[in-house]
Amino acid sequence: MASTAEPEAKTDLDAFREEARAFLAENFPPELRGKGNLLSSVEEASEESPAEKAWRVAMGERGWGTPTWPKEYGGGGLTRQQARALEQEMAKVGAWNPIGGMGVMMLGPTLLEFASEEQKHEHIPPICKGEIRWCQGYSEPNAGSDLANLQTMAEDKGDHYLVNGQKTWTSGGQWADKCFCLVRTSRADKHKGISFLLIDMHAPGVEVKPIKMISGMSPFCETFFTDVAVPKENLVGEEGQGWTIGKRLLQHERTNLSGGGALASLNAQPLHKVAERYIGLGEDGKLADAELRVKIADFEMRWSAFLLTARRAMEESKAQGGVSDISSILKKAGTRLGQERAELMIEIMGYRGLGWEGEGFEEKELSGTRAWLFGKATTIYGGSTEIQNNIIAKRILGMLDHQ
């Protein structure tokens, strides 16, 4: 089924590949090879080395950290094929994308769809350059799964809103420059009273308190707004449109949460390799613990079917030009498997998989413990598994609520 246009398209793509290779040769510092992007929202911000900064700036200037976003807002303006080629060329030399975080994963795509021209020009370029860290102001103490119950008020004061209230589980709030926030502009209607507002985290009246988690880490914060003045031009969309915009952003979040989990584990060693080291093979060449061997095989096979599903969701979405139905199962299935993997790691490593700190443990073992504990959050945040089940039942399967 080769189309006649293909040879020419291939030539263009080859030319682009050369351009990408040349750019990487010139700009990617070899000492960063395979180091990966540490600029994750759930880990502490580590100080950026000069090489890391140079790499981020180079990618940001080119817009290639957000390869398919429009050029006029600082994106790369690449076609999907070109973006894929870039990804492949980067993988070949061990390069990674230094531009990330919530601005890229969630806010950017949402602004592209809903924001005014002025807002796009103001907020998207710094995201493409990795200059601004965004955090998400959604959950509140009494608005978790029932998100629309949120109470943080934005009172109309003519040229600005006066914001009062409390957000919680603000990922990376202590390091963020700005916050995309769901606020209440009216008490008259639960859903239509919600608006989508961009708030400066350095503004007077914003206070952030990290929350210490069972993992010992503090990736989340409580955020307090006390009489915070927010200019009206920071309202995205119309007043009362926040629920629609906010939900669309959550779709991006879900896709990324499951995808992110998948990517993280792709780089990790296969479970059976870890087991070979900790448990060893018997004389028959099989893992010495027969039951664990079966559990590992079961996990690895299901993991491989999940990766095929993630790939299929991507291909379908591309072909349909919209989010495919099965994207709705990725978060639920991916996070569940991620947790199973972490539990199996502990089972494989025994006591050494439960070290908290200090001597007697390898660095990898200690970070495994923390990852296991942190991983419990994945089926709770970003819409818990139970909420995902509600979404699948209602939106995909058409099962309606009690009347």
Binding site: A305, A333, N389, A393, K394
Partner: protein, 354 residues
């Protein structure tokens, strides 16, 4: 659903329309009640539409559309439990395409492509699939051994038989006797006693020919199971939307919504695994591993969905009048075929050397 080309979409739509209009589950019910292995007219129609030749090279009378294409048809047939020798015959044909001499290909493949000849694999010798081991032996071109639970056996004209030293073709005729094995799925199974049957080796397939055939058997069986998963899921969802208790349709109960969400997740992951297996055969890359994943995933999904299908239908799900029980019975037979999930997990670990 994998992204298809135009040819594949047409093929799938044709299979879907035909199955829905000409061969729904009701057709299988008639075949069963008549005590036939399958509806010969329906098999004729399938062959007429070219389905018997989908994986046979054009030079030998097929269309060479590939395994994903065949899988699409098999899935549609699985939805209505259409009894046919399509899978068994395609596997026998693929064995010859992979390992036959030019003469063997010329002799058999066109007859497979036209549907005139039916073939089947005779590999397993015990009630559980235990891999590629066989005690069946061949001396001076005569094959001797007993093969257990051979699918579509009674109408097959050619048997592809696993022996100690390779894979052989045995034509129906002297030196063999068939004993029917009536199983819960009411399909055409038999034990076959070969006693000095004339046999010809498939000599050109390399040392892993039997594995290649087994991989294809796993994936194609998984494709039928995928169709069954989809059908049971769809009818169960329809039922929950119609059945009223406590003045509410059952589908409004959250306890049932979450169970259906779980089944939907399993169904879609099974779809990815099966399509991944079919695509692996077409590309020739990582086939054995992909086939094990496809079959194990389909096994587990169909096991769960067929159980829940009966449970969620309540009492009527237990009646012969309702279709859902047919799927439960066929499901267990296919779960046992070419490797249970526990066998496949062991095989997978072995592939990865742990």
């Amino acid at each position: 659903m994998a992204v298809l080309n135009e040819e594949q979409e047409m093929l799938r739509d044709m299979a879907r329309e035909w199955t829905k209009n000409e061969h729904p589950v009701g057709a299988w019910r008639k075949v069963r009640d008549a005590g036939e292995p399958f509806d010969a007219d329906a098999w004729g129609a399938m062959a007429e539409m070219g389905w018997a030749g989908i994986i046979i090279p054009e030079a030998h009378g097929g269309s060479d559309f590939g395994w994903l294409s065949l899988g699409l048809v098999v899935e549609e047939l699985g939805k209505s439990l259409a009894a046919s020798p399509l899978i068994a015959s395609a596997l026998a044909a693929s064995a010859i395409a992979l390992g036959g001499s030019e003469d063997q290909k010329t002799e058999y493949l066109p007859r497979f492509a036209s549907g005139e000849l039916i073939g089947t694999l005779a590999f397993d010798e015990s009630p559980r699939h235990t891999g590629l081991t066989a005690s069946t032996s061949v001396h001076d071109g005569r094959l001797t051994g007993t093969k257990a639970f051979v699918h579509e056996a009674s109408r097959a004209g050619l048997f592809v038989v696993l022996a100690q030293d390779g894979v052989y073709l045995v034509e129906k005729g002297q030196g063999m006797s068939l004993s029917r094995r009536a199983m819960v799925d009411m399909r055409d199974h038999a034990e076959i006693d070969f006693n000095g049957a004339p046999a010809h080796k498939l000599a050109d397939g390399g040392s892993d020919l039997a594995q290649k055939i087994l991989d294809r058997a796993r994936v194609l069986t998984a494709a039928e199971m995928l169709g069954m998963c989809q059908a049971v899921f769809d009818t169960t969802l329809d039922y929950l939307k119609q059945r009223v208790q406590f003045n509410q349709v059952l589908s409004s109960f959250q306890a049932l919504q979450h169970r259906m969400a779980d089944l939907y997740t399993e169904l879609e992951i099974a779809r990815s695994a099966v399509e991944g297996g079919l695509q692996a055969i077409d590309s020739g890359f990582g086939v054995t591993e992909a086939a094990a994943v496809a079959k194990a995933t389909a096994n587990d999904a169909l096991h769960h969905i067929s159980r829940e299908g009966v449970q969620l239908h309540g009492g009527i799900g237990m009646t012969d009048e309702y279709d859902v029980g047919f799927f439960l019975k066929r499901a267990r037979v296919l779960e046992a075929a070419w490797g249970s999930s526990s066998h496949l997990r062991d095989a997978y670990a072995e592939m990865k050397a742990y």
